[in-house]
C-alpha cells in the first residue's frame, strides 16, 4: 500500500462545486409546475383554535389552497421511532386537531402560485384562539420535574456514598448553573420540495438522516417506505437541527398532494426558532468533595433540562460525570422539565456540552480553593479505567492532550492569581477545561462499483453537513482500493442508497467509513473470485487464497510481477461494472469490553474590560485525542468550527422567550447573536497521536462534538481568572460583569 490517501490534508473534493454554486441544496431542486407553500404558525403559546377564516384568503391572488386542521387529510401517523426521535412520547401530529401546544406551532399552510402570493395570504389569514398562558420558564413554580423514562443518558447512577463523602470532605465546592436555550441557526434554512407521482412521493429535503426521513414520512402517510424517495446531496450547516423530520416536511407533502403539483416549502429564519428543535435550557447543581491534596472524594451532578409536553427529549447531561475523574463516590441525577414548548433536539455536543460546562466549571472552582493548578488537579484525578462501567478505556489520551495543549498555549507562564494578569486596562484570564464525547459506531452499509475505465463509484445514504464526508469517504475508498483520489467518485444523500445511521453523534466517519472500507474489500473479493474463474484471465485456476491485491492489481502471492488492474479485470469480464455492497457494525463483544470516548483539552485566553464588563476571546488552543485523523486539514477546520460554536455558547447565544406567550423574541440573526469573524481570534486545533484498534476498523473516534464540548467552560473559567468573579450562567453577558 503506497497510496496513503488517509491522513493527508486533501482539499474538499466538493469545494469547487460549493464555491461556484454548483452544489445544489434542497430548495434549489425546483420542479416544473411547482407551487409555493408558506406555514402559518400559532400566535398563542397554548390553547385551542376557535376559527380560521380561510374563505377570504382563498380568494386572494394566486392562492391555490388553504389547509388547516379543518380540511387537512387525517394522516395514518403509524408508530415510528427513528434513531433521533425521543424514545418516549409521540411526535407532533400536524394539522390533525385544534390544539395549540406551543408558540409558532403550524396551524395552517397556504399554497399559492408564487412565494409572494403565498406569503401575502399567510399574513392575511385570520386565526382566532382560546389562548391560555403557557409555562415556558424552567424556574416557574408550576413546572413539575419528571424522571426520563428511557434514553441513553443513564440518568440516575450512584457508586459509593457521594452525599456522605461530600459531608465529610475537608474541601468542598457546591455550585448551581443555568444555561440558556440555544437554537442551531445554520446558514441553510429548512426546506422541502415535495412531488407526488401517483402514490409515489419524492422529497428534496434538507436532512441529516435521509433514510429516517423516508421511513418516517412513509409511516405518517401509511405507505410503503419504498414509495418515498428522499434526496439531499448537500446540507448548508445542520448542527443537529436536521436530524429529525420536523412537521414542515409533512406539510409540504400534504400540500403537494392536495394541489396535485410539486410544492416547495422553505421555513423563514423566524420559523427556524419554532418547530425545528433547540438545545434545551438546563439547570444544574454540582457538588465536589476533595482531600486537601486534591483527590476527589465525592462528585454529585444533578441536572434538569426542558422538554415538551408531548415528548421526552433526553440528552447525555450527566453521562460523562461517571468516568472523567477517579472518584469512589459519585451520584448523578437527571430530570426533565415538561413545558409548553416544542420538543428540544440534539445540538452539537448534546448533553456533554451542557453537563461538562457545569462539572468543568466546578472542578476549576475546586482548583482555586485548593491552590492547585487546574491542569495538575485533573492529572491527580485521572482514572486508570472507566470507574462507572468498570471497563478499561479503548484509549484515553486526555493527559497527552493537556501536555500538548499546555505547551502550545504556554500555560506554564500563567500567574494563577485571579486579576493578576493585565494588558493595559484590560483584565486577562487564562482558562482550561476537558472535553469528551462517546465513540459511536452504528450499523451502516455502502456499495462500490468498479467501472471498465478503472474508476470506482461509491454510494451510501449518509449526509455531509460540512465536516467533509464527501472527501473523507473518497479518501477511505481510494486508500482501500489503492486508487488515486480522482478515480473515486463518492455519492451520498439519497434514501435509495445503502442505509446509514444519522449524520450526527460524531459517528459518520466511524460508521459510514467502516462500511465504505468493507464495501471496497467486498468488491475486490468479488473481482478476484471472477478472475480466478475466468478462462481468459492469467489468474485462471488459482485458488482464491493464493491471490492478493497489491496497489490496485491482483497478483499471485509471492509473484513479484504486477497482475491485472481493475480496468483489465472489469474489461476482461465483459466490461459491465462489477458491484458489491457491504455493511459494518460494532462487534457487540467489543462494546462490553471497552469504554470508548474521544477526549480533548481546551485552553483559552480572554480579556475583560472591567469598566464595561465586556469579554472578548483572545486566543484558544484545543488538543484532541480522537483516534486516527483521516484528513488533518478538514479535521482542523471542523475543530475550529466547534470552538466557534463553543464561543457562541459561552458569550452570545441565548434564545429569549416572551414569558406571556413563549414567543422567541430574538428569532432572527440580528438579535440571536452568533460570533462574527471579528469576534473570532486565532484558534488552533492539535491532535495527539492515538491508535485505537477497538473503536472501529478505521480507528477513528469522531470529532464534530468533542470540538465544541470544552470551549464554554474554558471561557467561563478564564473569565473567573480574569475578574475573580464566578459567573454560573451562560451566556456570560455584560449584565453578569458590571461589578468587576
Amino acid at each position: 500500500m503506497t497510496m496513503q490517501a488517509i491522513g493527508k490534508p486533501h482539499s474538499r473534493v466538493d469545494g469547487r462545486a460549493k464555491v461556484t454554486g454548483g452544489a445544489r441544496y434542497a430548495a434549489e431542486f425546483n420542479q416544473p409546475d411547482q407551487l409555493y407553500a408558506v406555514v402559518v404558525g400559532s400566535t398563542v403559546g397554548l390553547g385551542r383554535i376557535l376559527r380560521i377564516d380561510a374563505g377570504a384568503v382563498a380568494q386572494m391572488p394566486g392562492v391555490r389552497a388553504v389547509i388547516s386542521h379543518l380540511n387537512a387529510p387525517r394522516l395514518a401517523y403509524q408508530p415510528h421511532k427513528g434513531g433521533t426521535d425521543p424514545a418516549n412520547g409521540e411526535r407532533l401530529h400536524v394539522l390533525q386537531d385544534d390544539q395549540v401546544r406551543f408558540y409558532g406551532q403550524p396551524v395552517a399552510v397556504i399554497v399559492a402560485d408564487s412565494l409572494d402570493h403565498a406569503e401575502r395570504a399567510a399574513a392575511a389569514l385570520a386565526v382566532s384562539y382560546a389562548g391560555e398562558t403557557p409555562v415556558v420558564d424552567p424556574l416557574d413554580a408550576k413546572v413539575q420535574p419528571v424522571a426520563p423514562q428511557a434514553g441513553r443518558a443513564g440518568a440516575d447512577r450512584s457508586r459509593g456514598d457521594a452525599d456522605a463523602a461530600f459531608a465529610a470532605a475537608p474541601v468542598t465546592v457546591e455550585a448551581s448553573f443555568d444555561m440558556a436555550r440555544e437554537n442551531h441557526t445554520p446558514m441553510e434554512p429548512h426546506a422541502t420540495i415535495a412531488a407526488w407521482s401517483g402514490d409515489r412521493l419524492t422529497l428534496w429535503s434538507k436532512s441529516q438522516f435521509v433514510v429516517n426521513e423516508q421511513a418516517e414520512i412513509a409511516a405518517i402517510f401509511g405507505m410503503p417506505a419504498a414509495n418515498v424517495q428522499v434526496i439531499c446531496p448537500f446540507v448548508g450547516g445542520g448542527f443537529g437541527t436536521s436530524l429529525r423530520t420536523w412537521p414542515h416536511v409533512t406539510l409540504a407533502a400534504i400540500a403537494a398532494r392536495q394541489v396535485g403539483r410539486p410544492v416547495k416549502l422553505v421555513l423563514t429564519r423566524r420559523q427556524m426558532f419554532h418547530t425545528t428543535g433547540h438545545r434545551p435550557r438546563t439547570l444544574q447543581r454540582v457538588a465536589l468533595g476533595a482531600t486537601t491534596d486534591g483527590r476527589l472524594t465525592s462528585l454529585i451532578h444533578e441536572g434538569s433540562g426542558e422538554t415538551s409536553r408531548y415528548e421526552q427529549f433526553v440528552e447525555a447531561l450527566t453521562s460523562t460525570s461517571g468516568f472523567m475523574y477517579s472518584c469512589p463516590n459519585v451520584r448523578t441525577r437527571y430530570r426533565l422539565l415538561p413545558m409548553d414548548t416544542g420538543t428540544p433536539t440534539f445540538m452539537r455536543g448534546p448533553g456533554e456540552a451542557s453537563g461538562m460546562y457545569a462539572v468543568e466549571s466546578a472542578i476549576d472552582e475546586l482548583s482555586y480553593k485548593l491552590g492547585i493548578d487546574p491542569v495538575e488537579l485533573r492529572r491527580r484525578n485521572e482514572p486508570a479505567i472507566d470507574e462507572a462501567e468498570k471497563l478499561p478505556f479503548s484509549s484515553r489520551s486526555l493527559m497527552q492532550c493537556y501536555a500538548l495543549g499546555a505547551e502550545r498555549f504556554g500555560w506554564a507562564s500563567r500567574d494563577p492569581r485571579p486579576r493578576a494578569m493585565r494588558d493595559g486596562r484590560l483584565l486577562i484570564g487564562w482558562g482550561v477545561a476537558s472535553a469528551s464525547y462517546p465513540c459511536f459506531f452504528s450499523p451502516a452499509s455502502a456499495r462500490v462499483r468498479l467501472l471498465a475505465d478503472g474508476s470506482a463509484e461509491v454510494e451510501a445514504a449518509s449526509s455531509d453537513m460540512g465536516p467533509g464526508t464527501y472527501t473523507s469517504m473518497t479518501q477511505v475508498a481510494a486508500e482501500t482500493l489503492s486508487l488515486p483520489l480522482d478515480k473515486v467518485r463518492f455519492s451520498l444523500g439519497r434514501s435509495d442508497f445503502p442505509a446509514t445511521p444519522s449524520h450526527g453523534g460524531s459517528q459518520t466517519m466511524s460508521s459510514v467509513g467502516s462500511a465504505v472500507r468493507a464495501a471496497c474489500l467486498a468488491v475486490q473479493a468479488e473481482l478476484a473470485k471472477r478472475a480466478v474463474a475466468d478462462r481468459r484471465s492469467q489468474l485462471f485456476g488459482a485458488s482464491i487464497d493464493s491471490v492478493e491485491w497489491r496497489e490496485g492489481r491482483l497478483s499471485r502471492k509471492g509473484d513479484a510481477a504486477a497482475g491485472p488492474s481493475y480496468s483489465e479485470l472489469v474489461t476482461g469480464a465483459g466490461g459491465s461494472p462489477v458491484e458489491a455492497g457491504a455493511s459494518a457494525a460494532r462487534d457487540a463483544a467489543i462494546a462490553k469490553q471497552y469504554s470508548m470516548h474521544a477526549f480533548g483539552a481546551v485552553f483559552v485566553e480572554v480579556s475583560v474590560d472591567p469598566d464595561l464588563g465586556l469579554v472578548r476571546l483572545r486566543r484558544a488552543v484545543g488538543a484532541y485525542g480522537a483516534g486516527r485523523i483521516v484528513n488533518p486539514k478538514l479535521a482542523t477546520s471542523q475543530c475550529i468550527g466547534g470552538m466557534v460554536g463553543g464561543l457562541g455558547m459561552a458569550l452570545m447565544e441565548r434564545t429569549a422567550l416572551d414569558p406571556r406567550d413563549g414567543r422567541p423574541v430574538n428569532a432572527h440573526m440580528g438579535d440571536y447573536l452568533v460570533p462574527v469573524n471579528l469576534d473570532v481570534p486565532h484558534l488552533e486545533a492539535h491532535f495527539v497521536e492515538e491508535q485505537d484498534p477497538h473503536v472501529n476498523p478505521l480507528g477513528v473516534k469522531g470529532l464534530g462534538e468533542v470540538a465544541l464540548v470544552g470551549m464554554a467552560p474554558a471561557i467561563a473559567n478564564a473569565v473567573f481568572h480574569a475578574t475573580g468573579k464566578r459567573v454560573r450562567e451562560l451566556p456570560i453577558r455584560i449584565e453578569n460583569l458590571l461589578d468587576v
Binding site: D611, L612, D671, L673, V676, I734, E735
Partner: protein, 289 residues
C-alpha cells in the same frame, strides 16, 4: 425576500435628482450606498414607487479643506473617510467613529450622507455631527439651505429633510488647537449596532474641559446631547464633579428599556463611558472609574 416592484432612475446631477424627487411626490427615495435602504426594501419593511440612484453624481463625492472648514460630499463612502488624511488631521473624532461603523464590506458601499439621512438612533455618525457642530447642506427645488446638526435630527429615522430634498454636503469646523476627541461604543458583538456609545470633543484646560460636547447614541430614539453633564464638567476635575456629571446623565439621557439592554444597564454603561472620556480628554491615567 425580495423588494416589492419599484421604478428606477439614475440621476446625472443633483438638479436632475431633485426634479425626480419632485415628480416622485413622496413616493421616491434616494439610493446612496444602499446599506440600510436595500435591506429594508428586501425585507419589505418599506416600499416605494421610484428609486432615484445618485451614485453616479461625481460632484457629491470628495473631501476638501477650505479655510477652517472641512467639506465632505454626501456621497463620500465610509471607507474613504476612514483612510482620509484630511479627516484624520481635522476631524479625528470622525475617523475614530468610522472604524466602528459595521464591517468593511458595508463601509465600502455606505456613504456619510446616506447614513445621516437615515438617522438610525444607534448609528455613530449622527452623534459625531452633533459633537462636531456640523452644518448640513441641503438642496431642494427652491435652492440650497444649511441646517445645523442640532436641528437636523428630529427623532427615530426622522430628519429635517423634506421628501424632495437631498443632503449634498457636510461642513465641519476643523479641529481647533487644543481640542481633543473621544469615541467609544459598546456592542455585544463586534460590528453590531451599539447599545451605548459616546462621541465627545472638548478643549482640556488644566483639569477642566471647555467647550465640551457629549453626545450619546444607541440610548434613546436619537443621538442625545448631554448639556447638563457637559456644563458640570467645565468645573475643575475632581471625583465629586465627575460623580455629579455622571448623576446628571439620567436626566440628560432618559434611557429606555428594550430587549437589548435595560435602562439601568444603559445608564451604567453611559456613566462608565463618561469617566473614561473625561480621563482620556484630560490625559489622565487610565484608571477605571
Amino acid at each position: 425576500m425580495k423588494a416589492a416592484a419599484f421604478n428606477y432612475a439614475r440621476a446625472a446631477s443633483v438638479d436632475e435628482a431633485v426634479q425626480m424627487l419632485v415628480r416622485g411626490g413622496g413616493g421616491a427615495k434616494l439610493l446612496a450606498g444602499g446599506q440600510s435602504l436595500l435591506p429594508a426594501l428586501n425585507l419589505r419593511l418599506m416600499s416605494l414607487d421610484l428609486l432615484v440612484d445618485i451614485t453616479g453624481i461625481a460632484a457629491l463625492r470628495g473631501i476638501r479643506v477650505e479655510g477652517g472648514t472641512l467639506k465632505i460630499g454626501a456621497m463620500t463612502r465610509h471607507a474613504d473617510l476612514l483612510t482620509s488624511p484630511e479627516i484624520a488631521a481635522h476631524a479625528p473624532l470622525l475617523a475614530k467613529a468610522i472604524a466602528h461603523v459595521a464591517h468593511p464590506a458595508i463601509r465600502n458601499r455606505g456613504t456619510i450622507g446616506g447614513n445621516l439621512a437615515h438617522a438610525d438612533p444607534a448609528s455613530e455618525l449622527p452623534a459625531c455631527m452633533l459633537a462636531l457642530g456640523a452644518t448640513l447642506v441641503i438642496q431642494g427645488p427652491s435652492g440650497q439651505r444649511r441646517v445645523q446638526a442640532a436641528d437636523f435630527f428630529l427623532g427615530l429615522y426622522q430628519t429635517a429633510l423634506a421628501p424632495d430634498e437631498i443632503l449634498i454636503a457636510i461642513e465641519l469646523p476643523a479641529l481647533a488647537s487644543g481640542e481633543r476627541a473621544f469615541f467609544h461604543e459598546y456592542a455585544r458583538r463586534m460590528g453590531d449596532y451599539a447599545i451605548v456609545g459616546l462621541a465627545a470633543q472638548g478643549k482640556p484646560a488644566g483639569d477642566r474641559i471647555d467647550a465640551l460636547r457629549l453626545v450619546y447614541f444607541g440610548v434613546g430614539e436619537r443621538a442625545g446631547s448631554c448639556p447638563a453633564a457637559a456644563r458640570i464638567l467645565q468645573q475643575r476635575h475632581s471625583p465629586a464633579i465627575l460623580a455629579e456629571a455622571q448623576a446628571a446623565l439620567a436626566a440628560d439621557l432618559q434611557p429606555q428599556n428594550d430587549h437589548q439592554a435595560s435602562a439601568a444597564m444603559r445608564l451604567h454603561l453611559a456613566r462608565t463611558l463618561l469617566a473614561r472620556c473625561v480621563n482620556e480628554l484630560l490625559g489622565r491615567a487610565e484608571a477605571s472609574a
